[in-house]
């Protein structure tokens, strides 16, 4: 497979391919064992190659051999020895000289002795293999043949390995062939397919019983779980091998994985795992392999296993959430007077069939408090409550909903829901958790998108591929680029610079794309086909290629601190100019730095005029550098993605390990939704296509998942209670028809989120009271049928924002940048990671959130997990929350400010209590409550006065104590 892709690339890159003579073989010229002795391989003489030189050949690089490494796949002894000696380095050049002009072909052996490296290979200056991954320890490849032409003028042929960045190549051996004919592949040794009676007896007596006894438990068609994809209960299985390659190399026991495993040569493949077989048994197996593994077992168990594991796609598409969206019939209901819209009919029909009935309508005060928190995360003001109560028109509710949807507070609330899902954070998540001051542009974009009611399809498209969309204005262009901050926001990992784990960041992207947009756990298919849902490992790597072909910005890391690959926010078509500007500035900076250090050295050794002269030059250079550093760029840089420098398909990674590449997969969408492929003509990463695939009609999940999220945030739980998982491990919908009804309305209504709020909030279902009858609680304890509004607790943000709001202290102006330390002062390491909590009086959605350190307040009150998608908040009740409400300085300060606000109204005590009740609960205080509060205030005054507090402060402190009581009430943090 690797071979195939290499050939493809050769042609694609336009290297001169001489017309070969069909059927004719190329002529073998010579082969060299780099940094090793002469050998015979494939029946041909290989020459020794050493540092002291070889006729007509030079190898430039460092020399290295390690004959102790176990090769994967194993191969014969001579080839093994050849591979394990090599010439290596960041740049290695092999050159043949004195060649006759004409067409030639080259075959190259490469291997890996420790961890994976990435490098390019070039023949006569042209890239023949771009971004080759060397694989993990012990892996090797025979690459080529690559065709090239040797010119009469120089008679040379060079092969170069070049690792941009940190990649270093180990080159083991090289074969040179002339002519354009076929270079023969090494012939793999053949299995013994015509065994003698003695050989069969040997198998039956010495081999088969051991296989049954020690191997079948995990390696047969009958095994509960077949390990490593290897079945040993038939000849076909033995010949095919497993996930890690052929198990047996016939005739060569030492090169057979099976024998290596029996000998426990490597830690991760020691079989049987618990105890090594006796030496004489292993010797029997070696003998058997030497015979060519004669095996009379004809039944093809492998075919049976394969058939069993194959996905039946037609059947897979029958899963409820994969079926096309249907416009369901609105059901008939017995109590036709109750419903006000179709939602109510769907809900009521199900209640009726369960023998339940809806709760009475909510009190109007409860309704407006509920609606206001739902859409803005803040309580209604007493004026808003009054104007609603005074509005007795049938549109009173709609007026409130419209007013709330127009409020900028709406986007801050609903944007936060989306930021939960996309695991938003202001830092990168690497071991030092580098700050990303520019991340907030994306946050603000999300908030603004909700406020503007951006159609959801545009919302999805912008986040996945905004940079690839047409734009009509500079502002639109900037917004589109910022939107791809969604992808940039993917988590960064580790501290390593060599072997940087990009695959984990891409994994994080795919995981989140799956959960956020599709409600699927795609990441389960990273190491193997999804165990429950019809998602194959190939599907996963088909998507992986899209993000592999995308350039993510570099936020900085301990050993490579500078931000790079951020995207300049410039008018459409000006990106290249901006990049040139950036590179010019960078170049000039480096020049100046070089000059300055040079001048400083010169200065040390000079005197008199010369010294003055140098000093002057130095000063000039330093001033220019200072100016260059302090002058802001002519454009803003966004934490956003762009197209990668390598646009390419990638191989499957065995067990999710990039060091274990398998077959290359074409970039495409999930098979279950048609598996549309990226057109051959596409020269882009494929993100634009991915967005369209996700939004296409044949992907019904997209509309279902978002409609469910909207519902979920109005009722506390979704119609599907696992909003990120619509697969088999998720929960089925309680109201499947209603979900489709909503999804169709959503999609056909121009993907308007605000229209969905109106539809849902004006239903009678939403308007029910929170109390439920005993019968309904018994019959439906979890209230899945919504026979009453599900009471729910305010989330962390609403609690904090409300306290600030009531204290008259909430800053609703534009949120400023986070006060991160200046970029040139960043010296964060895993020993001293970035860690900060920035106080702010802005809404909680604007709090600086670190990826790997929980914000102390948000952690206590079940805030979103910034390292992974949070589809719904849990609500725990812990003593730590109570302690916070009892003793935290913030609570006491807001209570004090709230008290002062109340006292500033200059009302009598009863009226002040009334006002507080309206502000906190949107209801009138009752007589007994007034009495108790008055008693409380008197007692508090008495206590305070007794403790020597100044008289004028006593009143404020007493009221502050009363407000603290209100802050702690269930009625305050629960919505009825």
């Amino acid at each position: 497979m690797q071979h195939f892709s290499v050939m493809g690339m050769v042609c694609a890159l336009g290297i001169a391919v001489s017309p070969g003579v069909a059927g004719a073989d190329a002529d073998f010229i010579r082969a060299l064992n780099l940094n090793g002795p002469a050998l015979v391989i494939d029946g041909r003489e290989w020459e020794a190659e050493t540092e002291s030189g070889t006729d007509g050949f030079t190898a430039k690089g460092k020399r290295f051999s390690d004959q102790g490494v176990l090769l994967r796949p194993p191969t014969d002894a001579a080839r093994t020895e050849m591979i394990r000696s090599s010439v290596w380095g960041g740049t290695v050049t092999l050159e043949f000289s004195g060649l006759k002009p004409g067409p030639y072909q080259v075959v190259l052996y490469v291997w890996e002795d420790n961890h994976t490296e990435q490098f390019d290979l070039l023949v006569n200056g042209k890239v023949v293999e771009a971004g080759f991954y060397s694989g993990s320890r012990g892996m090797w490849k025979r690459l080529g043949p690559w065709r090239t032409e040797v010119m009469e003028s120089d008679g040379r042929l060079t092969v170069t390995a070049r690792g941009p960045g940190h990649g270093a190549a180990n080159l083991s051996g090289i074969e040179l062939w002339s002519g354009s004919g076929t270079v023969p592949e090494p012939e793999p040794p053949a299995f013994n397919t015509d065994p003698s009676a003695d050989q069969i007896a040997f198998f039956e007596n010495r081999i088969r019983p051991v296989l049954i006894e020690s191997c079948y438990e995990c390696h047969s068609a009958e095994a509960e779980k077949i390990k490593g994809g290897l079945v040993l209960d038939s000849r076909a299985g033995v010949h095919a091998g497993g996930d890690t390659g052929p198990a047996i190399m016939p005739g060569v026991p030492e090169a057979s994985l099976l024998i290596q495993a029996l000998n426990h040569l490597s830690e991760d493949m020691a079989m049987p795992p618990k105890r090594k077989l006796p030496a004489h048994v292993i010797a029997d197996f070696e003998e058997w392999v030497r015979m060519g593994a004669p095996d009379p077992r004809d039944t093809n168990t492998l075919a049976a296993v394969k058939a069993r594991e194959a996905i039946d796609w037609e059947q897979a598409r029958q899963w409820w959430s994969f079926r096309p969206l249907a416009t369901p019939d609105v059901p008939a209901v017995a109590d036709s007077s109750w419903p006000v819209n179709d939602i109510d009919r769907f809900v009521l029909a199900q209640q009726e069939s369960a023998g339940l009935s809806p709760a009475p309508d909510a009190d109007r005060r409860a309704w407006i408090r509920r609606a206001t928190y739902d859409l803005t995360g803040l309580p209604p003001t007493p004026e808003e409550v009054r104007s609603f109560l005074e509005d007795d028109s049938p549109e009173a509710g709609a007026t409130v909903v419209d007013r709330l949807l127009e409020s900028p507070r709406y986007g801050e609330r609903w944007g936060r829901h989306w930021l939960d899902v996309v695991r938003y954070a202001d830092t990168a998540g690497d071991n030092s958790d580098y700050p990303v001051p520019q991340m907030r542009f994306y946050r603000d974009w999300v908030i603004d998108a909700f406020n503007r009611d951006m159609p959801y399809d545009e919302f999805v498209r912008s986040q996945l591929a905004g940079d690839l969309l047409q734009s009509e204005s500079t502002d639109q262009r900037k917004q589109q680029v910022v939107a791809t901050g969604y992808l940039a926001n993917s988590r960064r990992f580790g501290s390593r610079v060599d072997d940087y784990p990009w695959h984990l960041t891409i994994e994080d992207t795919i995981d989140n794309v799956g959960r956020s947009f599709l409600g699927l756990t795609l990441s389960c298919a990273r190491c193997h086909d999804h165990k429950f849902d019809p998602i194959t490992q190939k599907d996963y790597y088909a998507l992986y290629g899209i993000f592999h072909s995308t350039r993510y910005p570099w936020p900085g890391i301990e050993l490579d601190k500078k931000q790079r690959d951020f995207v300049p926010l410039v008018p459409p078509g000006k990106l290249d100019d901006a990049r040139t500007t950036l590179s010019d500035i960078g170049k000039r900076k480096r020049e100046l730095e070089r000059d300055i250090s040079g001048l400083k050295k010169e200065l040390a050794g000079s005197e008199g005029d010369k010294k003055n002269n140098i000093q002057q030059q130095l000063q000039q250079a330093e001033e220019e550098l200072e100016k260059l550093i302090s002058t802001p760029l002519p454009f803003t840089m966004a934490y956003a993605v762009s197209e990668g420098s390598r646009i390419e398909d990638v191989p499957v990674q065995h067990k999710g390990d990039p060091a274990k590449p398998g077959d290359v997969v074409r970039r495409r969408f999930l098979t279950v939704f048609g598996g549309d492929q990226l057109p051959v003509s596409a020269e882009s990463s494929g993100r634009r296509h991915l967005a369209e695939w996700i939004l296409a009609e044949q992907t019904p999940l997209t509309a279902r998942v978002m409609a469910n999220r909207i519902w979920q945030h109005h009722f506390g739980q979704g119609i599907v209670t696992t909003p990120n998982d619509f697969g088999k491990q998720g929960k089925p919908p309680t109201h499947p028809e209603l979900l489709d009804y909503l999804a169709v309305r959503f999609r056909d209504g121009g993907w308007s989120v605000k229209a969905m709020h109106r539809l849902i909030m004006l239903s009678r279902t939403y308007g029910q009271a929170a109390g439920r009858s005993e019968q309904s609680v018994t019959a439906d304890p979890a209230n899945r049928l919504l026979s009453g509004f599900p009471r729910r607790r305010l989330d962390a943000e609403s609690i904090r924002d409300t306290m600030l709001f009531l204290g008259g202290n909430l800053d609703l102006g534009p949120a400023p940048d986070h006060p991160f330390p200046p970029h040139d002062k960043w010296n964060f390491t895993q020993h001293n990671p970035f860690k900060a909590v920035y106080p702010s009086n802005h809404r909680s959605v604007y709090l600086m959130t670190q990826r790997i350190q929980r914000h102390p307040f948000l952690a206590i009150f079940d805030g979103a997990d910034p390292s992974t998608s949070t589809p719904s908040r849990t609500t725990s009740t812990t003593p730590l929350q109570a302690l916070w409400l009892l003793n935290d300085g913030f609570v006491h300060e807001q209570a004090f400010r709230t008290a002062r606000r109340l006292l500033d109204m200059d009302l009598n005590e009863t009226d002040t209590l009334h006002s507080a009740s309206e502000m906190f609960f949107a209801r009138r205080i009752t007589l007994p409550e007034i009495r108790m509060a008055s008693h409380f205030l008197s007692d508090a005054r008495e206590q305070l006065a007794g403790s020597g507090i100044a008289r004028e402060e006593v009143e404020q402190q007493a009221w502050a104590a009363y407000i603290r009581v209100l802050f702690r009430l269930n009625e305050f943090v629960y919505l009825d």
């Binding site: 609680v777 009471r791 009740t877 302690l883 206590q943």
Partner: protein
Amino acid sequence: MKSSHLLNRREVLRSMVGSSLLMPGIVSHLLAESGHTTDPLAPKHPHYPARAKRVIFIFSNGGVSQMDTFDYKPELFKADGKKTGVGGGLSNQQRALLRPLWDFRPGGQCGTLVSDLFPHLRELMDDICVIRSMKGDDNEHYNATLGMHTGSFFFSRPSIGSWVSYGLGTENRNLPSFVALAPQMPYAGTQIFNNDFLPAYHQGVRVIGGSEPIANLDRRTRQKGLQELELGLADILNNRHLKPRAADTDLAARIRSFETAFHMQTDAQEAFDLSRESDATLGLYDVERGNNDSFGWQCLVARRLAERGVRFVEIVDGSSSKNWDQHGNMAEHAIHAKNIDKPIAGLLRDLKARGMLEDTLVVWTTEFGRTPGVDGTKGRGHHSASFCSWMAGGGVRGGLAYGATDELASTVVENKVHVHDFHATILHLLGFDHEQLTYHHGGRDYRLTDVFGNVVHDILA
């Protein structure tokens, strides 16, 4: 509540004081009546009878050298600057072997060899099972620390303490079930005691030492009685609110949480108050009277918390910036060892004297070991391929030295104990099948040991 028709102020007050705040029975009754067991921290039974009821988990930050502490290698003492072994920080390069700086001597009846870095612990080797064949997956502090605490070397997952809290609940509702005694922050920060996707009840509560060991534990209202007054009114109002909503057990649970918090202000303070410990006990732990942030203080507080029913106490030794990470000079290991040797020995002796060692599992570990080859001129590099940990009490076979490495303490050659195996064994001692202690999240069942882990039966008593 009958308070609504009380008119006399004094009576109202008495009623406030007499409400459920100081009569937990009322709330418990409400909870029981609703027919739900909503208390996620109620004591739970594990899968089978447990050997240990609680864990004290001591974590030494930075990578403690195995060949300088618990894994004696004569070959390394012959180091003459010629023979090489794995060296350097993060690479596999070969470097000259570095001779250990401390002699080894047998400890206890069992004679387990321990270096002079741990003279006090050495005396207790009959109670300790040393594991010399530990192995992790990552050579970075952050990732190895995360792995040691969560079983995941890269992704955020619940901490082992959170899993134990989730599995066992707590025996004392007035204290958290999982406490991390961490005056300084270790590698990977709050993630090492984070509940992640487990409910927040199971979050480790960080204790920083000093005068307010837990955030918000100190009463902010200076007037004695004002807080009671506030809680009294809140309690009445909450119960009035609850009455027509009695079916909603969350509301009652939240009322109760204030009661717990109220008691925590005194009970937790009491747990941290060492004033009534004798001089002899303080001496055992090497704590000076009045000190409230030393390692000895952490150990003594750990015993007090364990005594009071906290399920999982983590003691963090060192911080991410000041710890056992001796790349430059191995001699500095002595400073760190001296800091912890006597207090840990004191903890073990004290637990034993109180009969608590039998059902308290004490675990000591680090995130990885160090290289046999030199790093810098006198230091050692990171080495996850082999390191040492130990366990004591709670069903562990004391006096055992389990597992073996090659002659350079570089590779495990016998009885490998991977971090996942280590976790599986701890859960086993607590009575759990590590494959069954799962939590469904994001479409799959998660467990501490991911898809790995084998219980190390050989080290069980």
